[in-house]
Subunit: 390 residues, 2 copies
Amino acid sequence: MKATETAPTAADIRDARERIAGVARETPVYSSETFSRIAGRDVWLKAENLQRTGAFKVRGAVNRLATLTESEREAGVVAASAGNHGQAVAWAARQAGVNARIYVPQDAPMSKVEACRTYGAETVMVGERFEDAMASARADVEERHATFIHPFEDPIVIAGQGTIGLELAEQVADAETVVIPVGGGGLAAGIAIAIRELRPDVRLVGVQAGLSGFTIADGIFVKQPGELTMAILDDVLEEMVEVDDEAISEAIVLLLERSKLVVEGAGAVGVAALLGGKIGGTGPVAIVLSGGNIDPTLLISVVRHGLTLDGRYLVLRTRIADRPGELVKLLELIAQERGNVVSVEHHREGMDVPVAQTEVELTLITRDQEHVAVLLAAMKSWGYEVERLK
Amino acid sequence: MKATETAPTAADIRDARERIAGVARETPVYSSETFSRIAGRDVWLKAENLQRTGAFKVRGAVNRLATLTESEREAGVVAASAGNHGQAVAWAARQAGVNARIYVPQDAPMSKVEACRTYGAETVMVGERFEDAMASARADVEERHATFIHPFEDPIVIAGQGTIGLELAEQVADAETVVIPVGGGGLAAGIAIAIRELRPDVRLVGVQAGLSGFTIADGIFVKQPGELTMAILDDVLEEMVEVDDEAISEAIVLLLERSKLVVEGAGAVGVAALLGGKIGGTGPVAIVLSGGNIDPTLLISVVRHGLTLDGRYLVLRTRIADRPGELVKLLELIAQERGNVVSVEHHREGMDVPVAQTEVELTLITRDQEHVAVLLAAMKSWGYEVERLK
C-alpha cells in the first residue's frame, strides 16, 4: 500500500471539481429502458462520451493544467498519445493558454492526429512504435523542461477523473452499484475514491476488456493499471470483471440503436458486463460510458457484425443455371419472402462450379433469425442449394 | 389564415410543459466546436434524439394523452405509423395507462414494429400500403370510438412539440437564429409559436428535405405540412430552405463522429443546411436535432458513403498478371504506401480481361483525399492500370 500514500483524497477531488467547472462539462445521466428491462433493475448511463473531446480524459488534463506553476506554463506540456489522452491534453492546454506538443507514431490514425491539431497542439509524428513517440516526449521534457502529462499515474489527473464520482453521487443518489471501465485505472481510481467517501455502501465494479479484445476496446486494451492506480483499485473496488469483443460489440450496437449514443469499445465495457450478467447485486446500477471516440470504419464493422448476429444481415451463396432470366427468377422469389437485397455478386467461373451454372453471392437485409430461417428454408424448397456465409 | 384560428397559443404550450414534465425529458443542448468552426459562429445543438423513444414526437403524444376524457381513455387511442409518431403514441399511452393500437403496413421494418410492441401497444400489420393502415385505423375509430391521434394536424399535439421552444429560449438565451426540421410541420409550428412570444427577434428557419431525399430523411420526406401547420408556418417562419441527400449524409457522419450523437436523416437537416451555408444571419444558431431513429443498416451505408467522399475509403480496380506471387507483390506495395486493405476480390474472367491477367478489386482504408491521390499515383508509377470505383 505504499503507493497509495500519494493517492488523491476526496478533498482533492472536490478541489478538482471547482477547477474544471465551466471548462469540462458536467455530463448528463440517462435512464435506459432497454437496459433496465434486460437487467431487471434500474440502469443509468453516465454519458461521458458527450464530454469535451469525446472522453473523460479532459477532466484530468484540465485539472493538471490548472495546477502548473508559471514557469511550467511557459515551458509547455507534452504527451505521448494520439488517442483520448493526447486530444484531452491538446484541448486542455489550449483552454489554459499553454503550448502542447503531442508525440505520436507515424502510423497513428490521421483523424486522431487531426483532432489534436485542431485543438491547437503541435503534433510530432515520429518512429514506428509507441515507444519511439514516448522517447521523443521524454527528450522534450529534458531539453525544454516541458511537463510530461501522464495519462493515469498522477494523483492530480486521478483527482480530475474522480469528479465523475461526485456528479454521479448527486445524479444517481440511489445507485447500489457503480460500474467503471478499467484501462490504466485512473478513471476507476478517481471515481472510487469520491464515491467511497460520499456513498460508502455503493458496490464498485471495475470492468476490463479481455486479452482477446485488442481490436474493439483499443482504448483500454493497450493499458494495464499502473502501480499507483492498481494500489488504489485493490483497496476500493469490490470486484473486477472481464468482457470479450463479442459482448463489447453487442453493447456498442445497442447503445447506438437504443440510446442514440456513440460509445467506443473501451467505453462500452460496463454495458457489455451488464448484458453478460457479470455485475452482481440487485439495486439500481450506474454505468460510466467513458468515451465515444470510435473510428467510423471500425464502427461500421462492429454494427454490421452485431446485425449479422441478430439475423438482420444475411450473406449467402447459391448457384443458378447460366441462362437468361435465372437471376431475375431467384430475386423475385427472395422478394416474395421479403428479403431486401443489398448486393448481388456473380461469379461465372470457379473450381467447383459446374459449367452450365453460375455462382451467386447475395447480401440481404432480413428481419431477425426467424426470418433468416424461413427464407433459407424457402430457397431450399425451390431447389436451390444454399450456403450461409455469415 | 382560417386554419390558424385553431393554432395553439403560447399559453397552451406552457400548459403542455406542465403536463409533460417528468414524463418526457427536458433534453440537453450542446455547443459544438466543430460546427461553430465550420460556420464561423456559435452553434448549439438541441439533442432531441436523446428524448424518450428517440424523437420529439413523445412531447405531442404525451400532451394529447393527458387531455383525453375518461370515456376517451377507456376507448383507447390509435395511430397509423410505425415510425416516430407510432412509437411515441405507444409509449405515451403506456405511461398514461391507456390502450394503444398502432396500424402499420405489412412491410413495416420489424425493428419499428417491435419498438411499438415493447412500449406495450397492440400492433396491427395490415395491407401493403400506408393507406391500408390508415383505413384500418379509421375503422377502429368508427367501431370502437377510439381517439385517432394525428401526427401534426392537431393543436394539442403542436403545443406539445412547442415545449422545445420554451426550453430553447432558456437554454440558448442569446440565439439569433433557430433552425427547425419541417416534415408535417407540427414541430416547427409549435417551436415557432413559443419562440415568437418569448424571443420575438429570433430568426426562425425551417428546413425541408429536397424531393430527391427519399432514402435518408424518410421521416420527413413522406410528409408535407398540413393545412393547419402550413398556415402557422407561413405566418411565423422567416425562411424555408431545402437540403439534399448528400448534405444530410455528411451531417449525419459529422454528428456521429464529432458530437457522438446518432441522428436520423430527418433530424440532421438543420446541420445539413448549416454546412451548406443556407441558414443566413450572423449570431449564435440553435439547431434542433429532432430524432435519432435511423435504421442501423441505413446508418452503415450513410457512414460508408460519407467516408468515401472524405477520401477515407477507397475502392479501386486493377489488373495483375495471372501467376503466383503477383497479388502479394501488389499488396506489399500498397502496404508500403500505408493503405490498409479491407477486402480483396479476384475476378479471373471477364469480357475485357486479357487471358493472362486477373482483375482485382480492392477496398482500402485511407487517410484523406491527399493520401488517395498519392496512393493512386504510386500504383500508376509501378505500372498498374488503376480505376477508382467510388
